[in-house]
Symmetry: D4
Subunit: 225 residues, 8 copies
């Protein structure tokens, strides 16, 4: 049986063998009951589970049913199972401003849960470029860099010009007016003049970390031709 039908949801047990990781729950529009039911099945199957975009209230309801999880309030992640470092290399997460922290931490905890070592460099937006440049050597030690930026989203272009490794850019909804809830940094990151960079959805720290973990996994397992 590759999946199990809970009525509202078909839990995809096969995902780990197909994609390398168990299914992770997109918590945004699911009820606490639905989320709890899926978590139960995932823990039975994989020994661990993770749900994203969980409000504090929903997390509390789920934790009442399955108490062994940890809720990360900033990043709205609900996590079951201890993270362990599985791969060589390190993911460095660079955030442009204090307000981008929740998205940066979503990336951080996702990467940890998926088996990666991480390091965060906070608040190094390009308005004071020397802050970023003081981390130039640190950045060059990363295997993958995740950049998290709202406003005009200029940070990943600069970072990408400083490193040899892939950069994954996450635009955030931090800004106002002509920023259009993150559309502006999204488009600016897609239009970057730097090579070596790709982009995920607005505020999608999870998605960036997921791909970064896949890259570390590949680097650890080695690519065969």
């Amino acid at each position: 049986m590759t999946f199990e039908d809970l009525g509202h949801t078909k839990v995809d047990y096969d995902r780990e063998s197909r994609n390398g990781y168990p299914e992770i729950i997109y918590g945004e529009s699911k009820t606490a009951e639905q989320t709890a039911a899926i978590i139960e099945k995932l823990i039975q199957k994989h020994g661990r589970a993770m749900a994203t975009r969980m409000s504090p209230e929903k997390a509390e309801e789920v934790l009442a049913l399955h108490p062994n999880g940890a809720y990360k309030e900033n990043s709205r992640l609900l996590i079951y199972g201890e993270p362990a470092v599985l791969y060589n290399g390190k993911i460095i997460i660079v955030s442009a401003g204090t307000s981008d922290l929740p998205v940066a931490e979503e990336a951080e905890w996702t990467a940890k849960w998926l088996g990666c070592e991480t390091e965060i460099i906070h608040d190094v937006g390009v308005a004071g470029i020397d802050r970023l440049l003081s981390y130039r050597d640190v950045l060059q030690e990363a295997s993958v860099v995740i950049t998290v930026a709202g406003m005009e989203g200029a940070l990943p272009s600069v970072v990408c010009g400083l490193v040899k490794r892939p950069v994954i850019a996450v635009p955030t909804s931090v800004g106002y007016g002509a920023h259009f809830d993150g559309l502006t940094p999204l488009l600016s990151m897609l239009s970057s003049c730097s090579s070596g960079m790709s982009v995920v959805n607005i505020d999608n720290g999870f998605g960036a970390a997921y791909q970064a973990a896949m890259i570390l996994k590949l680097a650890s397992e080695g690519a065969s031709s």
Copy 2:
């Protein structure tokens, strides 16, 4: 008489006394005949004239009628009257990429024609930040900085963080796809995390230089309270 009516156009003779500079012709959708007629009147009144966004063909037609002008092919400006430095201070124009040159030169020649000393720093986009940083001292000598950038438009945010003087940002239509003919750098410049910066229309090197010249003029004449 504050203006003269040519039928198709009312030449605004009063503009110099109101705004500090003679009317400048927006050449885009005017015919060669209309443009030439306005130029004639402006030269009679002010001894000089300038038209923007002139195609080579239209410029040639106008020059056949009024031969003493100079056509700047890159920037599509048609200029009558020799530029002279009228003010203290210097406008530095910084462009992100080779392809942004025509807009940078529109700013350069406009500023010169309005009486300013200018300096251009070309092709210092943020993908190779060391190129820009090697001009750090030069930039700090500017009285006003004009930054010209297409793609993601990250350059002005970085430049603005390096200088004490006002920065005017010009987004350009250089780019493709998610760049939407300059909309993306326009929005990103408006959403900049740097303070001290304002923005003009896409490819509007002229407008940036015009305001920069006004600032230099103010600085030369002194602000009185």
Copy 3:
């Protein structure tokens, strides 16, 4: 040490020497605790501090920790340190309608805090042009003009045609329907037929005042070539 790392934030002590003014806090998405911690550091370093976009609740929390500040409710600014006039010249702030007042006052208080003399002319939108024209002489005494307008954003084009000095246009989110929360006056200001004008983000009275102060500072210090 050019910056200090508070964990969530890297306070940019060097900004005053680079940009002429201390770092100013973008308060929108920071917690009261984060804001208070940064304010403490800025006051230690510079003897004063300012935070923008502070809700009354957050301001109250910060003031409980650092009581010597003043909260400007209309403009949502939290200010530590007395404004003093440092430069010659005057910034005139012109607002189109009664509803644009909060943004106009954000510009006013920012400019004051940065050392500028200011004057406000309220509610002179173009629907009754004689109100604006009655201030024609006053406007011509400005060193810089900041225009604040929602709806169709026509005011700066008219003002810009009346003065010799730079005009900085601030679109506001006052309007409805086809106004799209300020997008319409933003685009219309960028498309203005008047020369000498630049634009900042929607509701960004702060940004306009910051650049205006830089211009006054330049005019006071004099531009050197």
Copy 4:
């Protein structure tokens, strides 16, 4: 028979009795043959005909078949039948810039053909407000005002504040960059702070004149309760 079927087209003979004027041909995407066939039927029925948005080439082809028409090159109208003044009152067409002339003339010739007296005031954009204000008395004699403006589209707001009569605003595609082919003045006119104004499609001088003529007709015939 209220309409006649030509295969490709159903000519609406009843329109004059329903709407007050014969059907007018939207020439943009019709072939010369289709246009000529409809013109023939309309002339048979009403003694006159008009087609809008006719390229010079298409107009020439149609005129070869029906030679008694007049082609207005600027406004791209093809007209059969002499205009005659049928109503009291006057439509004043006010255009912001030289480049808005073709749309202004489309309004002018449409209004004439529909039986109205017209007057055009060209190139009185708000960047030099005194030009417009010098026509203040003239404007107050209009029964209906049509304003034609590209760029930021500020003109109708100012005009509307000066007159007692209805103002119909026509945004034009004259501009570049953030002007988006007329979208910006369209939105700005819809968001106007002036009361008494309505808006038609971009470059739709025809539509403005059609409604203006209906208003003059009503005023001449008198409104009965």
Copy 5:
């Protein structure tokens, strides 16, 4: 004195002589205190006053200070002074659906207050065209027709094809999804295939009625050449 300065507002006393009607207050973003202060001045000057877009709470506060007004809850108008029919002719307001009623009533009460006779035809959207067609004769008695429609905004195109008089179209924010809060009917009305129609902002029943009243006034006073 053509206007009076209340600090926050410059009351435009001259508007009646310039535009035919006293200034009407846009209530949306004004405080109750500001609104009440302006109402007081307008009543002193003109003997009556009107404010649009007043929430029930704000209206109650204002009525506590100036009790002689009437609040129209559906249309959010606050009215001082009895409407009286001043002109010949009739404005017919046609609404597409039950949910468009508030906007239709804003148009109705505005027109009444400005001196017009009105008639409303509710809920005759094009999905059941026979409902509309049963009012065909009634519609032809209108001097001006105001059509109010959300969803796809098809109603004014059909109505406009049935009458000889000007049609003013008001798109409403009634709809969901691809309707984008009224953007879709706004664009569809601007793109109408019917001649004789103009458009006002989304939900702007006030603006449509204002122009309709101006037309009735012109028709009553007669157009002179």
Copy 6:
């Protein structure tokens, strides 16, 4: 073998058994050589072939290689194999204006080629509603109605209110300005107040006919439970 690999293309031989019809070629961005190669394979397999969006030049090149086809210039279809009526029922195609003909004919020929009887009613846009209403009885005989309309796209809403059968709406790119190349009728059709209607892409007469043919096929074969 369910498909054959031509290098540039994998011809999907299985499509007829899966979807009821052979693969049809989207001709827009394919070269004449690629198109001809696919046509050859499809004719070998199914005895017939069809390509959409073929320019006259490309069609000519393909016909030189495979001469037995017929090119429909208006609708840009290239057809191999004689249409035959395979199903009961009739598809009626209703177009709003003369300029919508090419899209209406794309629908017509596609439907014929797929085995359907068709009837076209041209130029019955809602500006002259009586033209459409004169076909009321005819419309009620349709099994499926395809409506084709540009401009404001009001036609399908009215048609859908007149019939018992499914209506498929096709917006066209006929219009200008606020029509945005068909975006406006697309959004207005999606926002329709009429029930029983669905929508396909702009100018996609092909897609509408394809679904209509599927419906006729189902009705002929009968639905089994």
Copy 7:
């Protein structure tokens, strides 16, 4: 009498004879009183009634007045009258994710109420394609397929390639960031590479089911030529 006028609403009694089904109430912006009044009339006329987009609070108010209805909380439908299977064939509703359930159930209950047999397949989004493929045989038994998907809206393209019957695609507002409340799946479904598919408005499960029911009705009644 084809309709009855309730003042706020004209109940369209004729709709059943014209369109095959009684009028169904769009509940979104109607008051409980208006909704209850219309329900009363519809039950009197047709013996049953349905209202869409009813909030729980509004439904409760209406049920207090007309207690024999059933409220479907997920889908926000309020239903009077027992569904009965009237036609041959089956509508299969396929939803991409757990969060799309409410829209899928709106389609399900609407189809049932209109007389159709339905089957739902939940949570078979394309990220785990084997889940969908395991229903391949089931899908081929459908007479019509309704696909409901948020996020990128890829599901209908895949489903449509698997079946011989018409597919109606419903984009949902489930997603975030670049999803723009459903705009992205709406546009992606309209741009689908699969033939045989049409699209309804975002979250419009009702509209999809209505058209699907019409198709089943046609198939049951037979198409006559």
Copy 8:
């Protein structure tokens, strides 16, 4: 010297040491002369060079000056220096349709030039899912997958659900109408329900390959902690 100033361009010699690869020329808006000058410098420094987005005409001009290059007409790449396989692993490029070939080939040749082994799977769009599924085993041998798709851009979501390795999605401008030149697949890829995927700009096969090559390089060199 980290860069050399050619006047129009500052060639970034340091890029190889910073980013792992020499600077690659964005050819779109550069003149043939500028391009040739940069190529000369890059070949002197690195022994090879590559320019993207070269029109055939421009490529011919450059090849006249520097004859040892190879022009790839489909992908518009101009390449100097023989590709050699430098890393373990393989990049598989999957394209949705025949028309996506040029972008797929830009990715292919870029990856080869950067030292990667590549394999292309053409024309496996989701409308015929069995074509894609027949490559399931092949796909699982990839180290990185690049998916290239226009229209609705559904392909990467399906592919990403089938593999353990990172997927980079490239939207293309192949489509029409609601596809908006690639905006629709861009947004749909960003909104994907599949984890492990990131996105680059529309038609940016180059950017996808560049990041893919960086990943292979990391995997070959090994990630160190």
